[in-house]
């Protein structure tokens, strides 16, 4: 007869009388849902801030209490944390990371754009059924496999055809270019697929050929989105550790050619972190390198958001 969960009018007047009167079902559901979502989001936010705070607190301590100057770390050329006196010059690593990431993006960008053009403009059916799964397959291959293939195939190839050791920035860039190709291609494909059809048709109506349309109209229009894809690719390449470490040589110096041993921020961290004792200056200096990596990631995200804002215009 009297079903307390039924009507809205019962909850105010007869609150105390019925069991679920004060909190009827719909208000309870509301609260439960809200609590669940807020707690998940809260956990996420706390995790992100904890990670940033942890890296920052460990990474800033060489500068604040360890006696290492910012200028020495950013511009110094010698990295000898176990030497007497210990030196913490990280410029070779910054150079290596930046050079490999930018070169990888330079190599991958034309391929990515051409693949995207092929998949959307020239052969959409073949593109969607053959090329797209192939590129997504590239994205799924683990990075250690890339490193091993790089060491077994790319390095001997470069050694035979170019002067030098084969190992170095060129090998690292080639391996990274293949790794970031899926990222660049996917974003380029999305950008090209969402172009208004009227744009292309208008161009054909004016008498332009297909290639002229692609070259003079589509490319400039989608340029901000393409740049977004490229910056995301650079960001991924910057953070790649294992594949690069196997083919880049890891000598802590700035190389004199593309085919000489170099080092990146990520590879020096993986090589040395296991060996240091937690809390020592060497360990904290490695955390400073990790902090630099984190700040570079923030920078890339910032650039991407600026580009996206421009693309939406």
């Amino acid at each position: 007869m009297n079903n307390p969960a039924n009507t809205e009018t019962t909850h105010k007047a007869d609150g105390a009388r019925f069991g679920g009167g004060l909190f009827p079902k719909h208000i309870r559901e509301e609260w439960i849902g809200r609590t669940y979502v807020y707690s998940c989001v809260g956990l996420l936010v706390v995790t992100i801030f904890s990670i940033v705070w942890f890296i920052a607190s460990k990474g800033l301590s060489p500068f604040m209490t360890g006696g290492v100057s910012l200028r020495e770390m950013l511009f110094g050329l010698k990295w000898q944390p176990e030497g007497k006196p210990p030196l913490f010059g990280a410029l070779p690593f910054l150079f290596g990371s930046t050079a490999t990431s930018f070169m990888a993006a330079l190599i991958a960008a034309p391929f990515g754009f051409c693949a995207a053009v092929f998949m959307t403009q020239i052969a959409p059916k073949a593109g969607r059924s053959v090329l797209q799964p192939a590129i997504e397959l590239l994205a799924g291959i683990p990075s250690v496999v890339y490193g091993f293939v790089g060491l077994s195939v790319v390095v001997p190839f470069l050694r035979e055809h170019f002067p030098g050791q084969g190992i170095g920035i060129m090998a690292g860039s080639l391996v990274l270019a293949v790794m970031i190709l899926p990222t660049v291609t996917t974003i380029a494909t999305d950008a090209l697929a969402t172009l208004p059809a009227g744009l292309k048709e208008g161009s054909f109506a004016l008498g332009a050929t297909r290639w002229q349309t692609i070259y003079k109209l589509i490319l400039p229009t989608t340029l901000p989105s393409l740049l977004t894809g490229i910056v995301l690719g650079i960001s991924r390449a910057f953070g790649e550790a294992l594949a690069v470490q196997m083919v880049i040589g890891n000598a802590p110096h700035i190389p004199r050619s593309l085919f000489e041993s170099a080092t990146t921020l990520t590879s020096v961290i993986t090589l040395e972190m296991g060996n240091t004792v937690g809390g020592s200056l060497h360990n904290n200096a490695l955390w400073s390198l990790a902090l630099i990596l984190l700040l570079m990631t923030f920078l890339f995200v910032f650039i991407v958001r600026m580009l996206e804002r421009r693309a939406r215009r």
């Binding site: 000598a251 110096h253 040395e272 004792v277």
Partner: protein, 321 residues
Amino acid sequence: MKKSLLLVLSLVFALTLAACGQNNNSQTPGSAASNSPSEQPASSQPASETPKALSGSILAAGSTALQPLVEQVSQKFMAISENSKIAITVQGGGSGGGLTQVQAGQADIGNSDIFAEEKFTDADADKAKELVDHQVAVVAMAAVAHPDAGVDNLTKQQLIDIFTGKTTNWKDVGGIDQQIVIVNRPASSGTRKTFERYALGAATEDLPGSIQEDSSGTVRKLVAETPGAIGYLALSYLDKSIKVLKLDDIEANADNVAAGTYPVWAYEHMYTKGEPNEIVKAFLDYMLSDEVQKTDVIELGYIPANQMKVVRDAAGNVSSK
């Protein structure tokens, strides 16, 4: 009712997964085998005379020079029926990494080519006192070169000149006209520390153009493939793909090392933090048993510790037995 039950169950499930994720790898010495809810409860029985099935897991990490031996012996150990419930994982990472991990409690056994006192010096010296040393074998390191380098012997001074960058071409030491490419290990490597201490006499810098690889296996691959490459490897890694160099005309083999004439050798240590617990002790006892010492150790290129005619202490002083 159904929805809130589902919610509660999913939270309980997530928490259980998190608890199960805490595995046995960081056991403190003295504690028995399993401490996670998903393991069979058959394990923690008091030690008795009759052999019983032990269960649990062991993580051995560190030296890549010792890694082949520990891996092969762990396979044999796990194949014994009483030990079928024990899972042994062997990792690399270099002797420095192994010592750091066992000291921090992250690994049960730290494999190392160097004494703990050599790594934990000055302020950290009391960290070395917490570790208990088990010397399971002796390993020798040899300088190796690309097969076409044209040299099969180097004097100590020539080695020093190569690794400090004074000599940059093989023709200066009697080989072909080829640029020398140094393949190093990182600073955490016991192989590198042993080679530098006993073959070169001093630590060397990483020179521009040198290559650093973090495992002996990759070093062997690079030296075999890069013309002009020179590196150093434990005897357990030598094979036909690379050329083994003699040091001052003394060949790197078991007899010369045992007699003490070939100086580049080190004890293989398996360190535990404090006294080992039951299953780690069982593994270490098996490692030191005759069955392993007379077959696997020799088969893989190491030297049994009791065959050595000289002993060396942590400070490097050699004396005859």
